[in-house]
Amino acid sequence: MKEGWEAVIGMEIHAQLATATKIFCGCAVETGGEPNSNTCPVCLGLPGALPVLNENVIELGARAALALGLEVQGTSIFARKNYFYPDLPKGYQISQYDKPFSANGTLTIMTSERDASGHATEWKPMNIHIQRMHLEEDAGKNVHEGLPDVDKYSYVDLNRAGTPLGEIVTSPDFRTSWQAYDYVNHVRRALQWVGASDADMEKGNLRCEANVSVRKIGETDFNNKVELKNLNSVRFMQKAIEFEIERQIAAHEADEPVAQETRLWDEKNNQTRVMRSKEDAHDYRYFPEPDLQPLKVTPDFVENVKARMPELPDVMRDRFMETYQLSYSDASQLVGDRSFAEYYETVARISANPKLAANWILGEFTRELNSSGKTADESLTTAEDLAELVITVEAGKINNNQAKEVFAEMFATGKPAAKVIEEKGFEQISDTSAIERIVDDVIASSEANVAAYRGGNDKLFGFFVGQVMKASQGKANPKVVNDILRHRLVG
């Protein structure tokens, strides 16, 4: 960013709550179904149809709110947001307005600027104020692809209409595009972690909008802000914000006006372009939804949800650093995903070697997951089996290269470590008496060399090691062999 300027950025995230059915009717929520196959009088907005709230929306909404540090409100009120668009059959969207489901959240995220090659320079905590997360229904979809006369007509699929959403709105707390980027990733993982949302941007069940303005450092007033939409990935969002910051600074410096407007990210041309100006901004004429009662959520309910929630990722990360003496970087990577973090913890506990366990999880295990496209809970190798392998390596029964080969086989087949080691014949002989017998045989059959070694030819030591290893078919533990040989050869 140009010296002397700062950006002021607020974020709005729409997260689809992971229910089986829609928010106000019993139609299934599913993607990829036949167009208009999940519709009913309620979500088609047919006359006389009445909405009935899905109780799981409250459960998942509470989980999302708690994961983001928001306070669930005792009473919230659904409201009609009125506008006309073909994908909105009722002519209004049921949302919430002055009494949202949850409010007043403080969220601590970790954020870092990035160097020219995109690597984080220094991770620091940052507090974000989340104003609210309210509940609402999604609209349908306008479709054009593969349909006739698209120059004259639009086509509407209402399968998505009525899907439950949580809309998460922050204060304008972000000063750089990377802070916004780190925030969205934080929210995405938090929602997945507690099972509130699949939060997959590519599938459209997490959508973000950024409100961006710039001002001279030291100014306290806000300049006109631009609303950025069509941000289909976190990376595009970051690029769009960055582009917009530079565009607005250039305009201000040239004394050109910055219009209050909505702009889209155009990923082909790597720039933002105007979607609509605020002149024709909507007047939504919100009013309370007369077909739904105020939503009452008791403190008991919230406590109950809290009690059933998993440990949150940041808490887990800090605990890993504290309990297992892991670095910030390792601990952060381990809590990237909940099943992955839990997998690690099981391996760490059973193997009683948290550091070696972390090396295996972040090394070989991650490599195998990435190349197979699996998640930790889809791995054929259980955490218990991997822990067994870690114990075997730690005991020196097999060496590192053998262990990697064993693990590859375990991951591919789901066989336990002991079985693979046996099949591959890798088990090292560490039993001292067995190795002593072999050493004695070698010494007895190499009289001349023994005499030469004792006479001062140290180089012959390698010869004896080689003989012993050969006699043991490579299975003797080299360290034990060395110790015994040195002892015996002294004579």
Binding site: C40, V52, L53, Y155
Partner: protein, 93 residues
Amino acid sequence: MDVRKIANLAHLEITDDEVALYTPQMADIVKYVEQLNELDTDSVEPMLGGLTVEGASTDTMRMDEPRGSFTPEEALGEAPSGVAGHFQVPKVL
């Protein structure tokens, strides 16, 4: 009272004569309803729908379980124009 703005928001086309006719009528309606503001409702919880005739609360939640939906044919049955399983509407951006 900006009757033309309200008409625009409702996607209604009205003539200047109609604006002249409706403006005082709507002002009267608003004035009539505004009498309610004379009541002090500070300590009264707003009551929003969902009551039975007897005044008891109706069930306001349902379980998250799928119930039957329309077939696409049924969904499009009442629409003026259904094409290839979709509602066909005038072009929007």
